[in-house]
Each structure stands twice: as structure tokens, then as C-alpha cells.
């Protein structure tokens, strides 16, 4: 990895997005609007305080997954990726550059979503808001890195959009939002233990209810981090300088 080329790549991705203000607005506002809608739906019940933290994990994760996978797929399809790989750009420069650029957007998006949930929707957070933000950011970066990986296995935009239900929905269903994970059938419980979104939701709920110490949340963050690193490494393996 070469820092100059990695940062140039991240800067280039951010300039591309800067030329598309509508995407920026959607990226920053949509998760908050959905969280607001949920708070409104459950306004006379205590449900929002239980599912609210999970939503902070969910929406940025899904949005970043979609945005990243489509952007990188576009790069593969327009020939710019082949051009870059015929130039002295390392595969890691490319992948980490993308992760940095979208990671920065993820920080902004999560900040807006957490701020809106806590101060506008009145989500009660008994633990540290900063820790909540840290988990939310890790989760959005996870969406970015999985999106990068998914784009390697799609040839068209249609396919990459199908990866969303295929890779994301099972994690949502098994993540403990619909049914607490300890009440799942044993086999599903075991599977859900391996899915990164389960750990993100556990961590957010732990911070919200202040039921666990910071060490527990740190452990969950480590698991999410391992998934991010794994997806980035796998993603760079799928970049091929030579194609048939």
C-alpha cells in the first residue's frame, strides 16, 4: 500500500460524490427519516426504546452497502478499474481508498442518525453516546466493505441490487430485532452468532440500556472490525489485473 495513491483514490471518490449533491442529501437524511418514522409509529409504546438502537445499526449499514457496491461496480464496468490496474496502483490502494472515502461518509451519516435519534426522537441512551456512535460508524464501514466485496461477484447493476436481500436481509432477520437472539431455534442462534450485524445490534442495545461494560462493547467492536478486515482482504483478492 502506498499512502499517496490511497489518499488520492479516497479524494477522487469524494470529489465524484461532491458532484452529486442529491446522493449526499439522500445518504445523510434517509436513515434519520426512517428512524423518525419508526419513532412516530411506536410513539405511544415503549417499543422504540428497544428497537431504536438496532435501527441505528440497520439503516446506515444497508445504505452504505448499496452505495458502495454500485459505485465500485460502475468502476469495473466503465473500464476505469482496468485502466487503474494497468497503472502503478496497488490493489490495496484502491480498496482502502474506497473504504476511507465511504468510511468518512459513514461517520457523517451515523453522526446525523445518532444525533437525530437521541435529540429529536428522544431515544433513551443510558450508556455513552460516543460509544453508540463508535458502534454505528463501525457498522456503516462494515456495510461499505461488504458492498465492495459483493460488487466483485456481480456483472450488472441488477445483480448487485439482488445481493442486498441475499446478504443483508438474513442478517436483519437473525439479528435479534424480530425475536431476541436467545429465543431463536438453536441452529439459527448458532448461525446468528457468526453474523456481524448481530454483534452490532447487541453492542448498540448494550450501550442503550447500559447493561454491559465497555469491555463487552469493545469485544463486539473487534468482531465487527475483523469482518471489515476480512471483507477488505477478500475484496482486494477479487481484483484481477489480468482478465480473459
Amino acid at each position: 500500500m502506498n499512502p499517496r495513491r490511497t489518499l488520492a483514490t479516497a479524494g477522487r471518490v469524494l470529489s465524484q460524490i461532491r458532484h452529486d449533491p442529491r446522493t449526499i442529501v439522500l445518504l445523510l437524511v434517509v436513515p434519520s427519516l426512517l428512524i423518525g418514522l419508526l419513532a412516530w409509529i411506536f410513539s405511544d409504546t415503549p417499543v422504540f426504546d428497544t428497537v431504536g438502537p438496532a435501527m441505528i445499526a440497520l439503516f446506515p449499514f444497508i445504505v452504505m452497502f448499496l452505495v458502495t457496491s454500485i459505485t465500485t461496480l460502475r468502476e469495473r464496468r466503465t473500464g476505469t478499474l482496468e485502466r487503474l490496474l494497468s497503472m502503478p496502483l496497488g490493489k490495496a490502494d484502491f480498496i482502502i481508498g474506497y473504504t476511507l472515502a465511504f468510511g468518512l461518509l459513514a461517520v457523517l451519516q451515523s453522526t446525523v442518525a445518532v444525533g437525530y435519534s437521541v435529540w429529536v426522537c428522544g431515544l433513551s441512551i443510558k450508556g455513552s453516546v460516543w460509544l453508540l456512535l463508535a458502534v454505528a460508524v463501525a457498522d456503516a464501514v462494515l456495510g461499505t466493505s461488504l458492498g465492495l466485496l459483493a460488487s466483485a461477484f456481480a456483472r450488472t447493476e441488477f445483480q448487485v441490487v439482488q445481493f442486498m436481500p441475499a446478504l443483508v436481509f438474513p442478517q436483519v432477520l437473525l439479528g435479534g430485532i424480530f425475536l431476541p437472539r436467545d429465543q431463536l431455534p438453536d441452529a439459527l442462534r448458532a448461525i446468528s452468532d457468526w453474523l456481524p450485524l448481530s454483534h452490532a445490534i447487541d453492542a448498540l442495545q448494550a450501550v442503550a440500556s447500559d447493561s454491559q461494560d465497555a469491555g463487552y462493547v469493545g469485544g463486539e467492536l473487534l468482531i465487527i472490525g475483523a469482518w471489515i478486515v476480512g471483507a477488505v482482504v477478500l475484496g482486494s483478492i477479487t481484483l484481477r489485473r489480468k482478465t480473459p
Binding site: R4, R5, A8, T9, G11, R12, S15, Q16, H19, D20, T78, G79, T80, E82, R83, L84, L85, S86, M87, P88, L89, R241, K242, T243, P244
Partner: protein
Amino acid sequence: MTTMVHKSAPAAVVRDLHARRGKHPVLHGLSLSVPRGLVVGLIGPSGCGKTTLMRSIVGVQIVQSGEVTVLGRAAGTASLRGRVGYVTQDASVYDDLTVRQNLAYFAAVLGASRDDIDRVIDATDLAANTGQLVGSLSGGQRSRVSLAGALLGSPELLLLDEPTVGLDPVLRAELWALFHRLAATGTSLLVSSHVMDEASRCDRLLLMRHGEVLADDTPAGLLSSTGTHDVEAAFLALIASRPSSDPAAREARDS
């Protein structure tokens, strides 16, 4: 044009190259060499394997067998990546960046200077468009941005896949003048075209059909050896004298 004999080794040497594009065999034992410091035209109809050959020289094509040596090293070697410039047929540039932002990014990847960006903008006549989004440019302007990106860092070998398609005649003449200026400073160029009348602008010609080289000569040498007056007629004369270049005949011969 000139038939300079260079003492240095050729810029690229291809020996017995077999390659498929996707699932289709395209190159069947192709051999050729690209001399240094000249504008070499790679002329042939669409689908004859020009792009696959260029991709093989750049080192982005998976080849079945054969040897491709570029600037003394195996094609695709990491140290060649800054020394070989490649312009694909469809402009590979970012539509959602301005001309200058595109070039600034490619320059950062190549380690080229800011002055170099201004040099290639002037060379490709894009000075009036530097602040425009590439997506808003015409097709010809977009392909010039792609070309400008390949000129960054002054690569020793330039591979240009149909760089003049869709350009107006004045601009086309300017680009050919640019190619010759680059060659005069020692750059080796391989320029593909399916337009036969561009052949006369080259120092040397490689005529290709069905993945094989029909002729490797100067334009004048080609015309005199075939007894014709233009490259199109020479092409037809060569095909007539080589019935085995037909794919059906070749399969019969190979089996």
C-alpha cells in the same frame, strides 16, 4: 516515411501468441515486433484481434501461450506499469469528475507532476474544457481526456486503440502530428485503426486479419510489394494471395 533502423531492441516483441477474448479464440500463434521511436499502425477490420493484441502487450490479457516482451521485460511486470500507456477504445475516464480532476487523479497514481497535467491538456487541445465535467463533453473530447491520461508521465510505449474514431478531420490531423512529435522524442507508438486511409500516416504498418499478421512493412514497401496504389487494395491483394488465412481453411489445416 522513414525506415530508420534503431540500434536498440524493439519496444515490444510478440512470439507465437495464442489468446482468447472471453471464450472465443482470437489470436492464433501471432508473432510481431514493435520497433522503438516509430508510429506503427495496427490496421485491420473490427474483430480481427487488434484489441486483444494490445491488451496482451499491456499485460491485462490472460494469454493461452506464447511470449510477450515489452521494453525488455515480460508484459505485465509491475515495473512496466508506469512505462506503458494504454488508451482503450471506449474512453475509460470518470464522467462525474472534471477534465482536470480526472487528470490530477491519474497523475497522482503515476507520480506525475502538476506541470505534466498542463502539458497533456495542451497536447490534446483540452485547455478550454479543464473545468467541465467529462460526462458533459462530446465523444471526441472524452476520448481525448482518456488519451491525455495516457500521456501523463511520458510513457516509453503508447498503445492507442482507435484513438481517432469520431474526430473531425482537423483534429485527427493534429493528433497524428502529435503522435509523430512523440515518436521524434523517442516514444514508441502502436496505433490501431480499422480505417485504411489512416495507414498512410504511419511509419510502419501491421496488417491484421482473423488474428494473424498479413503484412509488416512500411506503407511504401507494402504498396510496391503488392503492386497496388492504396492500402485497401494492398489488403485485398494480400488476402487473395493467402487463402489459408480464412478461419475455415485454417481449421482444416490445423486438424
